[in-house]
């Protein structure tokens, strides 16, 4: 199908973009467009105004600062894939990137767009929560920072209001003993996952501490499996897998039943747990 009519503005600066989305009802920000334009084409979304932020300067940096790695919202997936900084200091994101869409999608899609859109089956929102990141948000009243654990509120709903722009995410730069794990099931490489898991932890003798297990594709938002995290911290993979029965309640969707997703979540957990415990980071 073709999109319904809309007006279009190209933002010259962040302030200009904030002014544009504040000045009209029913606007959408256009970054990489790899989800938005598909929904426009299918007329699942019919905004009055599209504000294109692709040429807003200063939003495509990847830099280390104060123990964080900051990733500008307009950094494209392909740019992040090529970044030595990302491989060294955000290895979980580096592991997840090849699973996102296909090469042509990754050439356009942006890190900020994926985090802000918050598709429940997308990889990066789960990585963002697993890494205990922060979202840097610019709005009419200035800039604020929201922790990843507080960022996702519901299906396609986040701490962002229709007047806000996500300008960057910050992740704690990986320190030497940080371990990460990532796995997903999709019917075709690059498709949205039926279920996936992004995880981080720190080794503590023979056990783990600060375990974060974040599942995607199994709920309205990325979801932490807190009981499984506790079990895994004690080194008990089977207890962690059993704990998923209380942590997760995946609904049926067009791709798989909840029961299938629950089964897959257990398989993913066992795989990723080995990655975390053996330190194959």
């Amino acid at each position: 199908m073709k999109p319904a009519p809309f007006a279009y503005e190209r933002a010259r600066s962040l302030d200009h973009a904030i002014e544009l989305i504040g000045g009209a009802e029913d606007t959408r920000l256009l970054a990489g467009g790899q989800s938005l334009i598909a929904t426009l084409n299918m007329r699942l979304s019919r905004p009055q105004l599209i504000v294109d932020i692709n040429r807003v300067p200063g939003l495509d940096h990847i830099r280390r600062r104060d123990g964080h790695i900051e990733i500008g919202a307009l950094v494209r997936h392909a740019q992040a894939e090529r970044s030595a900084e990302m491989t060294a200091h955000a290895p979980l994101i580096a592991k997840a990137l090849p699973f996102i869409g296909h090469p042509a999608i990754r050439n356009r899609g942006t890190i900020g767009g994926s985090i802000a859109f918050g598709d429940p089956a997308a990889e990066l929102p789960a990585c963002f929560v697993a890494l205990d990141g922060e979202a840097v948000i610019a709005g009419p009243a200035g800039t604020r920072v929201v922790k990843a654990d507080q960022f996702y509120k519901g299906l396609f709903e986040s701490a962002l209001t229709p007047r806000d722009i996500l300008t960057a995410i910050r992740l704690p730069a990986t320190i030497a003993d940080m371990r990460t794990g990532f796995a997903e099931f999709a019917r075709r490489h690059g498709d949205y996952a039926l279920a996936g898991l992004a995880a981080s932890a720190r080794p503590n003798g023979k056990t783990l501490s600060e375990v974060r297990l974040v599942f995607f594709g199994v709920a309205a938002t990325p979801v932490r499996a807190r009981n499984a995290e506790a079990a895994l911290a004690n080194g008990d993979i089977e207890a962690a897998a059993r704990a998923l029965a209380t942590d997760l309640d995946p609904p049926d969707d067009v791709q798989a039943t909840g029961a299938v997703k629950r089964q897959l979540a257990g398989v993913l957990l066992r795989r990723v747990a080995l990655e975390l415990m053996e330190g194959r980071t």
Binding site: K2, A4, H102, P103, A104, I105, H189, G190
Partner: protein
Amino acid sequence: MSERFHDIGLTVNGEEVRERVDARKTLVDFLREDLSLTGSHVGCEHGVCGACTVRVDNVVVRGCLMLAVQCDGTRVETIEGVSDLGEIADLQSAFETRNALQCGYCTPGMLLTAQELLARGDVPSRDAIRAHLSGNYCRCTGYHAIVDAIEAVAQSRAGGRR
């Protein structure tokens, strides 16, 4: 006041183009309908099939997931231009020799996507070729012949450099 219609200027296959476009027109529809460049095909219109693949500023993109109005000031290349320049003559020839196309609907997208992989200069594994093509559907060939053709070209280009 925000407008629906915008004047854009861009380069398409090396030629300067100036047109007035409706903001809602996708790049692939602009190329096909306004410029009569019908080598880029329209399949699913939501980024899944890869039939609309074109290059914008040297990278392969989905023509259905970019708006024409976004391409103001960019350099767009389609299968017509890439073909005329001879950049992928060996790849096209390998596709023909190995029966890597039947109906041809996916072929322009396959060629441009494959060329992006081959342009890296190494000889990719068959798995890497398949992963790179994962976003391009072919409903005729079963992909095997396509992978064969791309692998053969990668090997012959690597051989030519030695």
